[in-house]
Symmetry: C2
Subunit: 316 residues, 2 copies
């Protein structure tokens, strides 16, 4: 399959070509670069929505319910999962797989899990590339699912225009997410498993945490769902589209995209240089420098200079 | 105060000079570099112990109890805290402050909190420098306290020779720490607040998780403590020293230090280049590149090339 065939296939929305384009982009090859550059002008049409939250709050059930809703309304949906514990990737419990099975065979749904290859860095560029490709392929909605842990949540904000934070009652991780100052990130907050004890308490904690966030014209609404039964998920989607309508006024969407792009580029640039250093310092060179520090011939700061010397001189 | 005065003061173990040396190292100035290089040959004598774990498990009470124990045994202790929520830094509850107050005025105890300046990177180099200075100043024991969150825990392993992971019963974060695969990091595991319900269950979960860790000659012992009452802390310290005795055989200590140093140097090198890029790309240059991507004149990958171009060419 040539790069041009892949480009044409993605433009035609063929799943096989889309999958191939994402793999090619991940490989970082010249063909991959060509495909991305050719597809980029056609982006910017999809509704990009991020879904994040601690493990176990039911993100995959929420995704599944939203996909069902959107398909029923005739919209096409792509799901990009960067949650290694997600059933979209691995570790699915049987119930999840059954619920998702219908979507896996629906041609109006594309599901891609991004492998965590031990390096969050490469992953963030790969995820951005996948979103670019799916956007250019004409999907109406792109859902990006990440597991909640500081860094990921900031990256999802760079890639999507509406971020949904999912929490659940009675979870220490949910309380921790609130305490960790993540309340500045979401545009919509969903309390899933809202039929469990403690939903009111969780809502109160969220509302209290939100009072500490610098107030803007948009105050993140709190939606309660029981995703596994489809309860509240329609309201959740209506809230997401309300946020989009808000962005569509006063040039906010452009500003949001501009800001997201700046974050993304900065992150990608850092990741690339990190990989360049890793490549530049082979294990034996590092071992040699370590020995000199162990022998107290040089101190750690001087050793770090030796590792980064040429790069730093160039940049100063 | 000249660099030489600071160097002499640190060698003499004067707290005022030690504090000054750490600040100077943090500033990254030529004087700071000179101080570090001069002090480095005198390092390697202190027992370096890391203490990590999720927020709220009582790390500061454990540190306080261990400091009391060690002082009673005539040993000098330095505490480096990289936990922004630690009472050693800020946000102390009154009881903590009272418990710690005695240590703050004891000349055989040095307590330093590393500020999180919004960049984990710079922090890891600053922490390594502080440990170097305190080691050269002749403290018998250096305790490095970090809040548990993946990255920090790996860094603490680079800086210390014995890592203690603190958990507590009935905490979702503790369970999460176990699930997150952090069990490969600690040399000793402490179940603090062991008088609370669920201590047996937590121990069982830890033991179960430990069976999944590749077995080596050292199996992390589990110690139960109620640090606030001083219960079990003597046994905890005996377990730490048992681990050190284990390291002292078969060249394990050297191997551990060599491995830690390699991790540390790699991390410091990456952080430095990251800062170089941040410095190299002023906001207006980034904004200009972002505009070109927004206008679809260039794609994100090409934009990232423009940000990192000279650095990458140099390193390839």
């Amino acid at each position: 399959m040539t790069a041009q065939e892949i480009i044409d296939g993605v433009r035609a929305g063929t799943c096989r070509h889309i999958g191939r384009a994402i793999s090619l982009a991940e490989s970082g090859s010249a063909d991959g670069r060509q495909v991305l550059a050719a597809l980029h002008p056609a982006t910017g049409r999809a509704l990009r929505v991020g879904l994040t939250g601690p493990p176990g709050v039911g993100k995959s059930s929420l995704v599944s319910a939203l996909v069902g809703l959107l398909r029923a309304a005739g919209q096409t949906v792509a799901v990009v999962s960067v949650d290694p514990s997600s059933p979209f990737t691995r570790g699915a419990v049987l119930g999840d797989r059954i619920r998702l099975a219908e979507h896996f065979v629906d041609p109006g749904v594309f599901i891609r899990s991004m492998a965590t290859r031990g390096h969050l860095g490469g992953l963030s560029e790969a995820t951005a590339d996948a979103v670019l490709i799916l956007d250019s392929a004409g999907f109406d909605v792109i859902l990006v699912e990440t597991v909640g842990a500081g860094q990921n949540e900031i990256e999802i904000q760079a890639l999507t225009e509406t971020v949904v934070l999912a929490l659940m009652p009675g979870s220490g991780d949910s309380i921790q997410a609130i305490k960790a100052g993540l309340m500045e990130i979401p545009d919509v907050i969903v309390v899933n498993k809202a039929d469990r004890p403690g939903a009111d308490l969780l809502r109160a904690e969220i509302e209290s945490a939100l009072t500490l966030v610098p107030g803007g014209p948009w105050k993140p609404p709190i939606v309660e769902t029981v995703a596994i039964e489809g309860r509240g998920t329609r309201e959740l989607w209506e809230t997401v589209t309300a946020h989009r309508a808000f962005l569509d006024t006063d040039g906010r969407l452009e500003a949001r995209r501009r800001d997201g792009l700046a974050r993304q580029l900065r992150q990608v640039a850092l990741d690339r240089v990190a990989r360049a250093i890793e490549a530049k310092v082979p294990p034996e060179a590092l071992a040699q420098i370590v020995e000199r520090v162990m022998a107290r011939e040089i101190d750690p700061a001087t050793a770090a200079d030796q590792l980064t010397g040429p790069l730093r001189r160039e940049s100063s």
